[in-house]
């Protein structure tokens, strides 16, 4: 986990608000480093994590988490982490064999209009079904759902409405019903006004921003490419205090390095000063 990001968000593994939906979004950039941060953060906070890793393989997440100080294989063995590896499951659907048992969570690959119902059932069973496990198992903290990333589902042919339904169902289950947290990553392309080809991801982004409590939006620098500053991140809180919800926005620039990421106010990068 990134210590600077923890201080920006006013959280720590010992104390964080529950029932939150954190949306990580990016435009023409790659915000997956934030997913690695949240994964190691919640594993350190001894939460029970359900991770839908659709974009990369398990070894990739494991290697990055190792550098951040958390072992995914150990967490999986202890039962703290339920990992869904999209790449492995998809092969059993795309290239079916007779004696191959598939979990069925990626049914939408065979028939996109079916929607993400089976994926939601997988999430539900891993989040709720664990409550009645053996008594000798360790007690973990609140449940957390991490999704990396939703745009892969759009690329695989799932309808935008189905993805929004899926996120809504997961939010109702994880955030409201069992007071856990949810972190989702969605990736967009460049904004174009007269473009009706990318309606999908723009609609998805707007719908998710409406549903979330905290939005971390990652973009490239508006002034162009720089090797030392990898981009800017906008943090947007939606607090519902009292009657009027108010929004608070902060803008930071960041640089990703081997063992983490550093965040700083605009113009205060060490490369510049």
């Amino acid at each position: 986990m990134f210590t600077e990001l923890n201080s920006i968000l006013n959280t720590s593994p010992d104390s964080f608000t529950q029932g939150e939906f954190i949306l990580v979004s990016d435009r023409q950039s790659d915000a997956s480093f934030l997913i690695h941060h949240f994964l190691s953060f919640y594993l350190r906070a001894r939460c029970k994590v359900c991770f839908l890793g659709l974009a990369q393989s398990f070894c990739h997440y494991g290697a990055v988490s190792q550098r951040l100080g958390v072992s995914l294989t150990q967490a999986k063995e202890k039962g703290q982490l339920v990992f869904f590896e999209g790449l492995k499951e998809c092969l059993s659907v795309l290239l079916p064999k007779e004696n191959n048992a598939e979990s069925g969570a990626m049914n939408f690959l065979r028939d996109p209009p079916v929607g993400l119902r089976s994926l939601y059932e997988f999430v539900r069973s891993s989040v709720i079904g664990s409550g009645s496990m053996e008594e000798g198992a360790e007690q973990w903290g609140p449940n957390v759902l991490l999704v990396d990333d939703l745009s892969v589902l759009l690329s695989l042919g799932v309808d935008v409405g189905a993805v929004l339904d899926f996120s809504h169902y997961c939010r109702a289950l994880v955030c409201s019903q069992i007071q856990g947290n949810m972190v989702m990553l969605v990736r967009c392309n460049e904004e174009e006004d007269d473009d009706d080809g990318d309606e999908g991801s723009e609609v998805l982004l707007k719908g998710l921003i409406h549903q979330c409590n905290l939005n971390l939006h990652v973009q490239g620098l508006p002034t162009g490419y720089c090797k030392d500053i990898h981009g800017q991140m906008e943090v947007c809180w939606k607090r519902r205090q009292g009657d009027a919800p108010h929004m608070q926005k902060n803008l930071f620039q960041y640089k990703v390095h081997d063992k983490g990421a550093s965040f700083f106010a605009r113009g205060t990068s060490s490369a510049v000063l």
């Binding site: 023409q28 790659d30 997956s32 480093f33 690695h36 990369q56 393989s57 398990f58 070894c59 990739h60 290697a63 990055v64 550098r67 790449l87 492995k88 998809c90 092969l91 795309l94 290239l95 690959l109 996109p112 745009s151 892969v152 759009l154 690329s155 695989l156 042919g157 990736r187 392309n189 460049e190 174009e192 473009d195 080809g197 990318d198 999908g200 991801s201 490419y225 090797k227 990898h230 990703v256 390095h257 081997d258 063992k259 983490g260 990421a261």
Partner: protein, 405 residues
Amino acid sequence: MAAPMNSVGKTSADRLQANCTSFQKKTRSKLISIPGTRPSVQNGQLLVSTGVTSLDYLLGGGLAVGTVLLIEEDRFDSYSRMILKYFLAEGVVCQHELFVATAQDNPDEILQELPAPILDDVAVPKPVEQPRPTGEPQDSLDAMTIAWRYQNLPKVQSALASSSRFGHYYDVSKTMEAEIRQAAKCHRFYLPDHITPSSAAHSARVESYSALLKSLQEVIHREGFDLATPMSKSRNILRVGLHSLGSALWGDDLCCHDKPRHSHALTTFLYGLRALLRSSLSVAVVTLPSHLIQDRALMGNITRLCDNAIALESFKGSERETNPLYKDYHGLLFVRQVPHLNCLARQLPDHKDLAFKLKRKQFTIERLHLPPDLSDTASRVSRGEPVGVASACGSGASGTKNLDF
């Protein structure tokens, strides 16, 4: 910062067998050396050479095993096809196995056009021009008197190259001899052999991609490239070359319509390809005629599903071909995406304005460096065309030597 390979020795050795991907860092005891590969100095990835040393440098030392390189074709598919041939030729020289899939030309035609390797030059590295370190005292002749603030900056190093050699050089004017070529094992996938046109036209999905994926998986399983098979026998790398994916000849209408019917067929295929590659010792190069795809968002999706992505734009046929500014180069090269594999940081290129040139013995990628135009006639017009008149008031003199006032 560099992560040396033997420092990760904490991982147990038997993780190599069970359901792991090709990104598993190999521990010291189980270090298998596959000819033609080397570990990356940055993060311990197993790398292969693409056949073009400048491209290897751009990609951070080479192409990582288990990843996909997407090449967006130039307009006439000349240079992207050349890079694909370099990639396959490098595989022949390193004794890797090849898998070539095409829909347009027979794979044998591509294989017969592979450039001949220059095997004498392997041992001799080319001298690389190093930038002058800043602390060195300059010669008095070189000392700048006017622009002295720029004195200590390093000289512009245009050529992209690293100090250690990896990969071979090829002579483009000759084709590879048949004996060398036939020594390498090559699997072919020629689409018209697998799909009859009538069945493809009426299907709801694009069958060609699933046939290709199935064929690739069969080859991987049969020849033992899968990581799940035990490590007893010697391992090799499978190089996959997919030519002009997404074009109409694959049965896909991405390049024909603004709103294609099967807009997700290619992205689903690329997802399946990524799944296959991550779980085997293979590496893929895919060329795609992106200039035919109108939907930029779809291009963004395709790029995100591949790991490395570059785009080529050749000057042939455009007005830049005759522009003296670009006379040293054959085209521009754009780096669209660089992956981060097994680590947080990615190896970003230093500069984003790159140009390439295909010489007889080398395909060079250089930083596009436009020197200042020091000719007498270049006053204000920077287009490089000969400046006709430095117009004196009143007279329409065509020469610049005799200005009458």
